[in-house]
Amino acid sequence: MWQSMREFILRAAGVFRKRRRERELAEELEFHLALKETSCRQNGLPPSDASYQARRNFGGLERWKEWCRDVSTIPVLEDLQRDLWLAFRTLRKSPTFTCIAVATLTAAIGANTTIFSLLNAVLLKSVNVPRADRLILLRVQPGDYGYGFNYPWFRRIEQDSSSLMQVFGFIRRHLRLTTLSGIEDVSAQLVSGGYFPALQVAPEMGRYIVARDDRPGIPDGGWLLSAQDSGVRTLPQTPKYSGAS
Protein backbone atom coordinates (compact mmCIF):
# COMPACT_ATOMS: atom_id res chain seq x y z
CA MET A 1 0.00 0.00 0.00
CA TRP A 2 2.65 2.53 1.04
CA GLN A 3 4.63 1.53 -2.04
CA SER A 4 1.76 2.50 -4.33
CA MET A 5 1.24 5.75 -2.39
CA ARG A 6 4.92 6.58 -2.57
CA GLU A 7 5.01 5.76 -6.27
CA PHE A 8 1.98 7.93 -6.98
CA ILE A 9 3.36 10.90 -5.04
CA LEU A 10 6.79 10.66 -6.66
CA ARG A 11 5.23 10.35 -10.10
CA ALA A 12 3.01 13.35 -9.50
CA ALA A 13 6.05 15.30 -8.30
CA GLY A 14 7.90 14.11 -11.39
CA VAL A 15 5.59 16.22 -13.56
CA PHE A 16 7.25 19.34 -12.12
CA ARG A 17 10.85 18.17 -12.46
CA LYS A 18 10.72 17.64 -16.16
CA ARG A 19 13.91 19.38 -17.28
CA ARG A 20 16.15 17.68 -14.76
CA ARG A 21 14.49 14.33 -15.33
CA GLU A 22 14.95 14.57 -19.08
CA ARG A 23 18.60 15.56 -18.72
CA GLU A 24 19.35 12.69 -16.36
CA LEU A 25 17.45 10.20 -18.49
CA ALA A 26 19.37 11.20 -21.62
CA GLU A 27 22.64 11.03 -19.72
CA GLU A 28 21.87 7.60 -18.31
CA LEU A 29 20.91 6.09 -21.64
CA GLU A 30 23.83 7.71 -23.47
CA PHE A 31 26.15 6.26 -20.85
CA HIS A 32 24.76 2.80 -21.53
CA LEU A 33 25.21 3.20 -25.29
CA ALA A 34 28.75 4.47 -24.86
CA LEU A 35 29.75 1.46 -22.75
CA LYS A 36 28.10 -0.89 -25.20
CA GLU A 37 29.92 0.72 -28.07
CA THR A 38 33.24 0.37 -26.25
CA SER A 39 32.50 -3.26 -25.58
CA CYS A 40 31.73 -3.87 -29.28
CA ARG A 41 34.95 -2.15 -30.29
CA GLN A 42 36.90 -4.29 -27.86
CA ASN A 43 35.35 -7.33 -29.56
CA GLY A 44 36.99 -6.20 -32.81
CA LEU A 45 34.24 -4.27 -34.53
CA PRO A 46 35.19 -1.09 -36.41
CA PRO A 47 33.89 2.13 -34.71
CA SER A 48 31.02 2.74 -37.16
CA ASP A 49 29.73 -0.83 -36.82
CA ALA A 50 30.22 -0.72 -33.06
CA SER A 51 28.00 2.32 -32.78
CA TYR A 52 25.37 0.75 -35.03
CA GLN A 53 25.39 -2.51 -33.13
CA ALA A 54 25.19 -0.80 -29.75
CA ARG A 55 22.10 1.12 -30.84
CA ARG A 56 20.58 -1.93 -32.43
CA ASN A 57 20.99 -3.96 -29.26
CA PHE A 58 19.51 -1.19 -27.24
CA GLY A 59 16.38 -0.79 -29.32
CA GLY A 60 14.75 2.53 -30.14
CA LEU A 61 16.23 5.16 -27.85
CA GLU A 62 13.23 7.48 -28.06
CA ARG A 63 10.86 4.61 -27.39
CA TRP A 64 12.60 3.71 -24.13
CA LYS A 65 12.75 7.35 -23.16
CA GLU A 66 9.03 7.55 -23.69
CA TRP A 67 8.47 4.44 -21.57
CA CYS A 68 10.69 5.86 -18.84
CA ARG A 69 8.64 9.07 -18.88
CA ASP A 70 5.48 7.01 -18.62
CA VAL A 71 6.65 5.20 -15.50
CA SER A 72 8.23 8.17 -13.77
CA THR A 73 5.39 10.66 -14.17
CA ILE A 74 1.63 10.61 -14.57
CA PRO A 75 1.18 11.17 -18.31
CA VAL A 76 -2.36 12.48 -17.91
CA LEU A 77 -1.10 15.20 -15.56
CA GLU A 78 1.76 15.97 -17.88
CA ASP A 79 -0.61 16.30 -20.82
CA LEU A 80 -2.86 18.55 -18.77
CA GLN A 81 0.06 20.73 -17.80
CA ARG A 82 1.10 21.03 -21.46
CA ASP A 83 -2.46 21.82 -22.57
CA LEU A 84 -2.82 24.52 -19.93
CA TRP A 85 0.46 26.07 -20.92
CA LEU A 86 -0.56 26.04 -24.59
CA ALA A 87 -3.90 27.63 -23.71
CA PHE A 88 -2.14 30.31 -21.67
CA ARG A 89 0.29 31.14 -24.50
CA THR A 90 -2.51 31.24 -27.09
CA LEU A 91 -4.52 33.60 -24.92
CA ARG A 92 -1.49 35.82 -24.36
CA LYS A 93 -0.95 36.08 -28.12
CA SER A 94 -4.42 37.49 -28.80
CA PRO A 95 -5.22 39.94 -25.98
CA THR A 96 -8.42 41.27 -27.61
CA PHE A 97 -9.94 37.82 -27.79
CA THR A 98 -8.79 37.10 -24.25
CA CYS A 99 -10.36 40.32 -22.95
CA ILE A 100 -13.69 39.59 -24.66
CA ALA A 101 -13.68 35.99 -23.44
CA VAL A 102 -12.84 37.01 -19.88
CA ALA A 103 -15.43 39.80 -19.92
CA THR A 104 -18.11 37.45 -21.27
CA LEU A 105 -17.30 34.83 -18.68
CA THR A 106 -17.26 37.42 -15.91
CA ALA A 107 -20.63 38.80 -16.97
CA ALA A 108 -22.15 35.33 -17.35
CA ILE A 109 -20.84 34.07 -14.03
CA GLY A 110 -21.91 37.32 -12.32
CA ALA A 111 -25.41 37.10 -13.78
CA ASN A 112 -25.72 33.47 -12.80
CA THR A 113 -24.59 34.18 -9.28
CA THR A 114 -27.04 37.06 -8.94
CA ILE A 115 -29.97 35.04 -10.27
CA PHE A 116 -29.10 32.12 -8.06
CA SER A 117 -28.80 34.35 -4.98
CA LEU A 118 -32.21 35.78 -5.77
CA LEU A 119 -33.81 32.38 -6.35
CA ASN A 120 -32.09 31.04 -3.29
CA ALA A 121 -33.49 33.83 -1.16
CA VAL A 122 -36.98 33.71 -2.64
CA LEU A 123 -37.59 30.05 -3.48
CA LEU A 124 -35.05 27.75 -1.95
CA LYS A 125 -34.72 29.16 1.54
CA SER A 126 -37.36 28.13 3.99
CA VAL A 127 -40.80 29.69 4.07
CA ASN A 128 -40.94 33.10 5.73
CA VAL A 129 -43.13 32.18 8.66
CA PRO A 130 -42.36 31.69 12.35
CA ARG A 131 -40.77 28.33 13.20
CA ALA A 132 -40.52 27.36 9.53
CA ASP A 133 -38.07 24.61 10.47
CA ARG A 134 -40.87 22.76 12.24
CA LEU A 135 -43.01 22.48 9.09
CA ILE A 136 -43.26 19.07 7.49
CA LEU A 137 -44.65 18.35 4.03
CA LEU A 138 -46.39 15.02 3.72
CA ARG A 139 -47.01 13.48 0.31
CA VAL A 140 -48.19 10.06 -0.71
CA GLN A 141 -45.16 9.63 -2.91
CA PRO A 142 -42.23 12.02 -2.55
CA GLY A 143 -40.59 13.62 -5.58
CA ASP A 144 -41.69 15.93 -8.33
CA TYR A 145 -44.70 13.83 -9.28
CA GLY A 146 -45.87 12.86 -5.83
CA TYR A 147 -49.57 12.70 -5.10
CA GLY A 148 -51.39 14.56 -2.38
CA PHE A 149 -53.83 12.99 0.03
CA ASN A 150 -57.51 12.75 -0.77
CA TYR A 151 -59.85 14.71 1.45
CA PRO A 152 -61.16 11.97 3.78
CA TRP A 153 -57.63 10.69 4.28
CA PHE A 154 -56.44 14.19 5.10
CA ARG A 155 -59.27 14.63 7.58
CA ARG A 156 -58.34 11.38 9.23
CA ILE A 157 -54.74 12.52 9.64
CA GLU A 158 -55.93 15.86 10.95
CA GLN A 159 -58.06 14.18 13.62
CA ASP A 160 -55.82 11.30 14.61
CA SER A 161 -52.35 12.73 14.43
CA SER A 162 -50.68 12.75 17.82
CA SER A 163 -47.12 13.61 16.78
CA LEU A 164 -48.02 16.73 14.79
CA MET A 165 -49.17 19.90 16.54
CA GLN A 166 -51.37 21.11 13.73
CA VAL A 167 -52.29 19.61 10.39
CA PHE A 168 -53.43 21.55 7.36
CA GLY A 169 -53.89 20.84 3.68
CA PHE A 170 -53.47 22.89 0.55
CA ILE A 171 -53.76 22.34 -3.18
CA ARG A 172 -53.15 24.59 -6.16
CA ARG A 173 -56.14 25.11 -8.47
CA HIS A 174 -57.33 27.44 -11.21
CA LEU A 175 -60.56 29.13 -10.20
CA ARG A 176 -63.04 31.29 -12.02
CA LEU A 177 -64.40 34.18 -10.01
CA THR A 178 -67.63 35.82 -11.08
CA THR A 179 -68.04 39.36 -9.82
CA LEU A 180 -70.18 42.26 -10.93
CA SER A 181 -67.32 43.61 -12.97
CA GLY A 182 -66.95 40.34 -14.89
CA ILE A 183 -65.41 36.91 -14.77
CA GLU A 184 -61.87 36.48 -13.54
CA ASP A 185 -59.65 33.43 -13.95
CA VAL A 186 -57.33 33.23 -11.02
CA SER A 187 -54.62 30.88 -9.94
CA ALA A 188 -55.53 29.99 -6.40
CA GLN A 189 -54.58 27.78 -3.56
CA LEU A 190 -57.29 25.92 -1.73
CA VAL A 191 -56.41 25.56 1.90
CA SER A 192 -57.94 23.92 4.90
CA GLY A 193 -59.05 25.89 7.93
CA GLY A 194 -55.86 25.11 9.83
CA TYR A 195 -53.61 26.69 7.21
CA PHE A 196 -53.28 30.28 8.46
CA PRO A 197 -53.38 29.54 12.19
CA ALA A 198 -50.70 26.91 11.78
CA LEU A 199 -48.45 29.19 9.72
CA GLN A 200 -49.06 31.97 12.24
CA VAL A 201 -49.51 34.73 9.71
CA ALA A 202 -51.88 37.62 10.29
CA PRO A 203 -54.03 39.14 7.51
CA GLU A 204 -53.55 42.74 6.37
CA MET A 205 -57.23 43.34 7.01
CA GLY A 206 -60.33 41.34 7.71
CA ARG A 207 -59.71 37.74 8.64
CA TYR A 208 -58.37 34.57 7.07
CA ILE A 209 -60.38 31.41 6.96
CA VAL A 210 -60.18 29.29 10.07
CA ALA A 211 -61.25 25.80 11.10
CA ARG A 212 -64.91 26.69 11.40
CA ASP A 213 -64.93 27.67 7.71
CA ASP A 214 -64.25 24.04 6.73
CA ARG A 215 -67.80 23.43 5.52
CA PRO A 216 -69.72 23.76 2.25
CA GLY A 217 -70.95 27.23 1.34
CA ILE A 218 -69.55 30.71 1.26
CA PRO A 219 -68.03 32.16 4.44
CA ASP A 220 -69.03 35.51 5.84
CA GLY A 221 -68.21 38.25 3.33
CA GLY A 222 -65.93 41.18 3.74
CA TRP A 223 -62.56 39.38 4.03
CA LEU A 224 -61.72 38.36 0.46
CA LEU A 225 -58.94 40.23 -1.25
CA SER A 226 -58.02 40.51 -4.87
CA ALA A 227 -54.35 40.43 -5.72
CA GLN A 228 -54.91 41.44 -9.34
CA ASP A 229 -53.54 44.94 -8.81
CA SER A 230 -50.47 45.80 -6.85
CA GLY A 231 -52.66 47.55 -4.29
CA VAL A 232 -54.88 45.48 -2.08
CA ARG A 233 -58.54 46.21 -2.20
CA THR A 234 -61.59 44.55 -0.78
CA LEU A 235 -64.14 43.25 -3.19
CA PRO A 236 -67.33 45.26 -2.92
CA GLN A 237 -69.49 42.28 -3.60
CA THR A 238 -69.38 38.72 -2.42
CA PRO A 239 -68.14 36.77 -5.40
CA LYS A 240 -69.49 33.46 -6.65
CA TYR A 241 -67.20 30.51 -7.10
CA SER A 242 -67.21 27.92 -9.75
CA GLY A 243 -64.77 25.22 -10.61
CA ALA A 244 -63.92 24.37 -7.03
CA SER A 245 -65.42 21.53 -5.19
Binding site: W2, Q3, S4, R6, E7, L10, R11, E24, L25, E27, E28, L29, F31, H32, A34, L35, K36, T38, Q53, R56, N57, F58, G59, G60, L61, R63, W64, E66, W67, C68, D70, V71, S72, I74, P75, V76
Partner: protein, 138 residues
Protein backbone atom coordinates in the same frame (compact mmCIF):
# COMPACT_ATOMS: atom_id res chain seq x y z
CA UNK B 1 25.72 -10.01 -29.33
CA UNK B 2 22.98 -9.83 -31.91
CA UNK B 3 19.65 -11.56 -31.47
CA UNK B 4 20.35 -13.74 -34.51
CA UNK B 5 23.52 -14.97 -32.90
CA UNK B 6 21.72 -15.73 -29.68
CA UNK B 7 19.31 -18.01 -31.46
CA UNK B 8 22.02 -19.72 -33.47
CA UNK B 9 21.95 -22.87 -31.34
CA UNK B 10 18.52 -23.73 -32.62
CA UNK B 11 16.38 -22.83 -29.59
CA UNK B 12 14.79 -19.42 -29.78
CA UNK B 13 15.89 -17.28 -26.82
CA UNK B 14 13.26 -16.32 -24.28
CA UNK B 15 12.43 -12.69 -24.56
CA UNK B 16 12.04 -10.86 -21.28
CA UNK B 17 9.71 -8.02 -21.92
CA UNK B 18 8.89 -4.92 -20.02
CA UNK B 19 5.53 -5.75 -18.50
CA UNK B 20 4.12 -2.36 -17.48
CA UNK B 21 1.70 0.07 -18.95
CA UNK B 22 0.80 1.44 -15.54
CA UNK B 23 -1.06 4.76 -15.94
CA UNK B 24 0.75 5.09 -19.25
CA UNK B 25 -0.38 6.51 -22.55
CA UNK B 26 0.18 3.33 -24.49
CA UNK B 27 -1.73 0.17 -23.90
CA UNK B 28 0.53 -2.82 -23.55
CA UNK B 29 0.74 -4.92 -26.67
CA UNK B 30 -1.17 -8.02 -25.63
CA UNK B 31 0.71 -10.32 -27.94
CA UNK B 32 3.86 -9.50 -26.01
CA UNK B 33 2.69 -9.52 -22.44
CA UNK B 34 2.22 -13.24 -21.98
CA UNK B 35 5.62 -14.36 -23.21
CA UNK B 36 7.22 -14.67 -19.82
CA UNK B 37 5.59 -14.40 -16.41
CA UNK B 38 5.13 -10.73 -15.48
CA UNK B 39 7.51 -9.55 -12.78
CA UNK B 40 10.38 -11.73 -14.02
CA UNK B 41 12.40 -8.75 -15.16
CA UNK B 42 11.95 -7.14 -11.73
CA UNK B 43 13.17 -10.32 -10.10
CA UNK B 44 16.25 -10.49 -12.33
CA UNK B 45 17.11 -6.85 -11.69
CA UNK B 46 16.71 -7.20 -7.93
CA UNK B 47 18.88 -10.31 -7.98
CA UNK B 48 21.55 -8.53 -10.03
CA UNK B 49 21.73 -5.79 -7.40
CA UNK B 50 21.79 -8.16 -4.44
CA UNK B 51 25.57 -8.17 -4.16
CA UNK B 52 26.04 -4.41 -4.47
CA UNK B 53 25.18 -1.25 -6.40
CA UNK B 54 25.44 -1.35 -10.19
CA UNK B 55 24.58 0.98 -13.05
CA UNK B 56 22.08 -0.04 -15.72
CA UNK B 57 24.65 -1.34 -18.19
CA UNK B 58 26.24 -3.56 -15.55
CA UNK B 59 22.81 -4.93 -14.61
CA UNK B 60 22.17 -5.84 -18.26
CA UNK B 61 25.59 -7.47 -18.53
CA UNK B 62 25.08 -9.39 -15.31
CA UNK B 63 21.74 -10.84 -16.42
CA UNK B 64 23.12 -11.55 -19.85
CA UNK B 65 26.14 -13.41 -18.48
CA UNK B 66 24.25 -15.29 -15.77
CA UNK B 67 21.52 -16.58 -18.06
CA UNK B 68 24.06 -18.14 -20.44
CA UNK B 69 22.48 -16.28 -23.33
CA UNK B 70 19.13 -17.99 -22.79
CA UNK B 71 17.32 -14.85 -21.63
CA UNK B 72 17.45 -12.04 -24.09
CA UNK B 73 16.63 -8.62 -22.73
CA UNK B 74 15.98 -5.51 -24.73
CA UNK B 75 18.60 -3.47 -22.96
CA UNK B 76 16.53 -0.32 -23.20
CA UNK B 77 13.69 -2.10 -21.38
CA UNK B 78 15.80 -2.24 -18.26
CA UNK B 79 15.53 1.46 -17.68
CA UNK B 80 11.76 1.85 -17.34
CA UNK B 81 11.89 -1.16 -15.00
CA UNK B 82 14.74 0.32 -12.97
CA UNK B 83 12.96 3.66 -12.70
CA UNK B 84 9.76 2.05 -11.59
CA UNK B 85 11.46 -0.09 -8.96
CA UNK B 86 13.16 3.07 -7.73
CA UNK B 87 9.83 4.87 -7.48
CA UNK B 88 8.37 1.96 -5.55
CA UNK B 89 11.21 2.26 -3.06
CA UNK B 90 12.68 -1.17 -3.86
CA UNK B 91 15.82 0.45 -5.26
CA UNK B 92 17.60 3.67 -4.43
CA UNK B 93 19.69 5.50 -6.98
CA UNK B 94 22.55 7.95 -6.84
CA UNK B 95 24.90 9.43 -9.33
CA UNK B 96 28.56 8.48 -9.05
CA UNK B 97 31.68 7.92 -11.08
CA UNK B 98 31.84 4.77 -13.20
CA UNK B 99 34.88 2.59 -13.83
CA UNK B 100 35.80 4.72 -16.87
CA UNK B 101 35.31 7.87 -14.81
CA UNK B 102 32.06 8.92 -16.42
CA UNK B 103 29.07 10.08 -14.44
CA UNK B 104 26.68 7.15 -14.04
CA UNK B 105 23.53 6.39 -12.12
CA UNK B 106 24.04 3.56 -9.66
CA UNK B 107 21.16 1.54 -8.31
CA UNK B 108 21.22 -0.06 -4.90
CA UNK B 109 18.85 -2.59 -3.32
CA UNK B 110 16.92 -1.11 -0.38
CA UNK B 111 15.57 -2.96 2.64
CA UNK B 112 12.09 -3.37 1.12
CA UNK B 113 13.78 -4.36 -2.16
CA UNK B 114 15.66 -7.14 -0.40
CA UNK B 115 12.45 -8.37 1.20
CA UNK B 116 10.68 -8.22 -2.14
CA UNK B 117 13.49 -10.20 -3.76
CA UNK B 118 13.18 -12.93 -1.13
CA UNK B 119 9.43 -13.27 -1.51
CA UNK B 120 9.59 -13.14 -5.30
CA UNK B 121 12.33 -15.74 -5.39
CA UNK B 122 10.27 -17.99 -3.19
CA UNK B 123 7.25 -17.50 -5.42
CA UNK B 124 9.30 -18.24 -8.50
CA UNK B 125 10.80 -21.41 -6.99
CA UNK B 126 7.35 -22.63 -5.99
CA UNK B 127 5.99 -21.91 -9.44
CA UNK B 128 8.89 -23.59 -11.22
CA UNK B 129 8.57 -26.63 -8.97
CA UNK B 130 4.83 -26.81 -9.64
CA UNK B 131 5.35 -26.64 -13.40
CA UNK B 132 8.04 -29.30 -12.99
CA UNK B 133 5.61 -31.59 -11.14
CA UNK B 134 3.01 -31.13 -13.86
CA UNK B 135 5.46 -31.90 -16.63
CA UNK B 136 6.92 -34.91 -14.78
CA UNK B 137 3.49 -36.54 -14.53
CA UNK B 138 2.50 -39.09 -17.14
Amino acid sequence: MLPEELSSEGDAPHKVYFPYSFMGRKALDKSRSGDLIPGTLDLLILKALESGPLHGYAVAEWIHGRSHDVLQIDEGALYPALHRLELRGLLSAEWGASENNRRAKFYRLTGPGRKHLLSERERWTRLAAAVGFVLAGT
